[in-house]
Amino acid sequence: MEKWVYAFRFVGIGWYIALCIGGGIFGGLWLDSHFGTSIIFTLAGVFLGLVVAALGTYRMIEPLIREQNDTTPGGKH
């Protein structure tokens, strides 16, 4: 049953990444049009979205990585 749990946890990862990057881009575009700047907020939004997506994804798969390290023969028990 444990495998089920992991499978279900990873179903939403794609959405998470897409929404983070998309949210960053659209938030940046909105800020750019609001302040009349050309691209600086959009770029910042893309970067921020990418960072948030990467960090969040790492946090989601962290338990799995840790568990795998624990169960491999070389890993700590």
Binding site: W4, F8, W15, Y16, R59
Partner: protein
Amino acid sequence: MSRRGCGLIGLVVLILFIVGLAGGAIGRGMNLPKISILEVPTLEIESFFRGEEVFLKGSAFPITNTLIASWITIVVATLFAFAATRKMKIIPGRLQGLVEMAMEGLINFIEGVAGHKNGRRFLPMIATIFIFVMFNAYLALLPLYGPGLYVSDTKEALAPAGGTVVELTVHAEDEDAEHQELKAEEEGEVIARIETASGVVDVEAPKMGELEYHVEVGDTVEADQPIAEITTKPPLIRSASTDINMTLAMALLAVLFIELMGLTGRGFKHYISEYINVGELFRGIKLFFRGKIVDGLMAYVTGIINVIIGGLEFISHMTRMVSFAFRLFGNMTAGEILVLSATFLIPWIMAIPFYGLELLIGFIQALIFGGLTLVFASIAVGHGSEEH
């Protein structure tokens, strides 16, 4: 089954396939002879994200066709449960046996993920989600649903001002066809031009749909005189899961349930510290002012990282709602369109394999929606409190 039986069924399927091919869109493209009893179903979804209003149109509480479908689902599921549990016996009959088997499977699945104690707490919500989504998907395969049963909805396009009609802008796609069906492709499309005293004005379509003109070029019209009539035929019942409002409402409920379980399972302080984790930050500031500069700075940096992680956690919880809503909506709408397209291409035969696929997808979507709620809820109450 005997070989003769198989051959007979194969022959019937083959005949149906050939007749269907001739009647469908593929056959029409290949210029096969037309068969009048077969009408090619129109492939049209008037509103994509939400159901069409069929009763109490334009009021504060319009009844959409998807809402009707969800009512039907509730009634059918309730009656089914009632019928299965009305005369319960120790040695179950067929229906009772089926329901017991399904419930046992659900309980085992939920307890396997969340443990015995939490599993029993989660069961009502998860089982409700699972049963509702699955009944929705399965009932939507009945011929009562979809374009077979429809309500006719007519709107008139009125002349904005009096004058002479100079042009009717919508023309038939196929000029040689016997029945010239006119169509307004979108809302606000210009369907006629009228020359008034102050210049030429456009008449716009109030919505998309089949178009029928009441006037001809050269006619004189007065202001607010109907120029044309636009008719749509929204289905009376449309699968409830093809309405984003329904799936979003369910996603909201699921996410609320998850957060509530986290709140009650772990206590308010623990729960809130997952999002707003400032303990380490304050400790760092305190140490800093006591003169332990290095320790204070270290705690301060860890505190900032904790705050960022709290923000990440919050974002990931909120994206769940969107993913829940759009996953179910997307899968169900895609299935509906797939079956409709298959029927459109080759009527009768082509849709059957896709019906089988839809049965599978309905089950899988119910499992995913329920299972995800279950897994997130059991993560929210914390791994430590599980007993296996």
